[in-house]
Amino acid sequence: MMTWIKLALRNLFRNRRRSLFTILAIGLGFAAVNTLGGFTAYIFTSLKDSYIYAQGNGHLSVFKTGFLQEGKLDPTRYLIDEEEMGVIQQVLARHPEIVVVAPQLHISGLLSNGKVSTIFIAAGRVPSAVRRINEHARGMIGKIQLFDGKSLEDDVIHGIGLSRGLAEQLNLDLGSDAVAMAPTVSGQINALDAQVFQLFDGPVEALEDKLMSVSLKFAQSLYDTGSVDRLTLLLTNDDTTETVRAQLAGELAAEGLKLEVKTWNELSTFYTKVKQMFDVIFLFTFLIVFTIVVMSVINTVSMAIMERTREIGTLRALGFKRRGIVGLFAAESMLLGILGSLLGMALTLITWSGVAFFKPTWIPPQITRRVPLEVYLVPDYMLYSILLLIVLSLAAASLPARTAARMQIVGALGHT
């Protein structure tokens, strides 16, 4: 075996320039795919961590069944009352992997500066619970403050946060007073005084002039209710999300509650859309790169076969079987794949080290501040790339190699 590998390796470097260009094409292709893969892995992780930790949405959310479809039409019907909350809390207490339980009540109404009013939508949350979720974030996500001003507090009910667009529309600034109005759950109009504690950027442009953040108590006072519309749960481990969801759904149903449990990625449409977009970009890049690789290998092997036709005839005359010829060229293309992958790994590591060293920054979607741009090293991508490149190299060589093996010996020996 070693003899044939040695022969293949020496054959590979008969035309050094051609082989080096092919190895370079494979290496650059490998590095391009793995760098893009590393960047998309960073984007996905950042978006996920941003949604779960920075925005305080947790891994799982518990709703009344049908809330997501019908909740806006008949909000009171889908609220979770205090009695139900008690039962749910008992179920959740059986799960040590749930580290934070944050009830929420999402509200909408009018916000007024005393002269003009405009529509708002707001998430009423327990500020201390949200902070505890924030604290579990890894890396930079936990350190980023997404607002200007001061934090909301559980017991300082009148403190609110406004999206910059909404604040501009009402000419409000940090410390300004405002009035929030909304119908209560029983249908009467209610109003609450508020003070602007913080300003933040809306995650999407369409909501930039509507978003408000309030404490749960503010939301419940405005709606005149002790109920919530969801419970947000933070888990110790991202990987257990699906398992815990399934367990909770079963246990809550056993308690006679009509509740549904949704995972973070089911609720984060932005994450899903971005992931789909990057998956498509990755697929196209992958196809382009690997088409170039396959064509390079086919070209290299075909040229080698053409140049070495007489040699193929000689080997066949000496007793090399057809499959031996295929094997020899397969070994050569496999070596191209291996050497190209090694070069690609080196280039990927250099890129990764360069990014880690120079720490470039950028402003990603949904975040208004510059954050470090990262490229992750994804061992799985690398392993799959190596295997795929070797398989592709072998596949690319198989057709010309089979043609070489089927040559008439006499014709090959007479080739000039």
Binding site: A317, G319, Q408, V410
Partner: protein, 246 residues
């Protein structure tokens, strides 16, 4: 027909070979009958296009005949698969080519080892056998040299060592002296003659070279795809059962 003497190695009966080039049909060999016995030193000669190479290719199992039967060591080669013919060539036949056909990326020693390694012999064994053969052709000092570093005569001697390394019953040489100067041609001829005498290896070669013809014991003359003369001036008894297709 029974005969006394060396056993039959190759037998061609009513063998023809036709090549198809597009719509053209080229008859390279007409009905040829030929027997070659172990230990013979046979030259096939004639003008270009007379069918010498085609005949050698059929005897060496490099090609299959269009009609008739080719038997090697009593086996009908048409009944063998491509793999079986490869195995038979590897263990039973050595080849010496006009252009030497050494593998340029292998050293002289590695070139000689090649047929043994194809048959699966261990590297150590193959190296020992190849060194012995290189010494026989006087090139043990050039074992590590790549073909490009050897002269034409030296390359052909490496090719002969390669052809002999598996101890084949037959060596086919296609114009082995055509690309050599007179001195080297003579040395190669003498070397083949000596190996034939000492080892009993059967040699069949095509040639134009009159000096080579003078040193063979059997000359087969061809013209237009037919054997027109088959003579053995020194050993007429060897040709008792030989039939010549004319």
């Amino acid at each position: 027909m029974s005969r006394i003497g060396p056993p039959l190695l190759v037998e061609l009966r009513q063998v023809g070979k036709v090549y198809h080039l597009g719509e053209s049909r080229i008859t390279a060999l007409k009905t040829v009958n030929l027997s070659i016995h172990r230990g013979e030193f046979v030259a096939v000669w004639g003008p270009s296009g007379s069918g010498k190479s085609t005949l050698c290719n059929l005897i060496g199992l490099l090609d299959v005949c269009s009609s008739g039967t080719v038997r090697f060591e009593g086996q009908d080669v048409a009944a063998l698969s491509d793999d079986q013919r490869s195995e038979l060539r590897n263990r039973g036949i050595g080849f010496v080519f006009q252009s030497f056909n050494l593998i340029p990326v292998l050293s002289a020693l590695e070139n000689v080892m090649l047929p043994l390694q194809i048959s699966g012999v261990s590297t150590a064994q193959a190296r020992r056998a190849a060194r012995k053969r290189l010494a026989e052709v006087g090139l043990d000092d050039h074992a590590a040299h790549r073909p490009a570093k050897l002269s034409g005569g030296q390359q052909q001697r490496v090719a002969i060592a390669r052809a002999l390394v598996t101890d084949p019953a037959l060596v086919i040489a296609d114009e082995p002296t055509a690309n050599l100067d007179s001195e080297n041609a003579l040395r190669i001829t003498e070397l083949m003659r000596r190996l034939n005498s000492n080892n009993g290896t059967t040699f069949v070669f095509s040639t134009h070279d009159q000096r080579l013809l003078e040193r063979v014991e059997r000359q087969i003359q061809m013209r237009d795809g037919e054997i027109i003369d088959d003579r053995s001036p020194e050993q007429p008894a060897m040709r008792l059962d030989r039939s010549v297709g004319l």
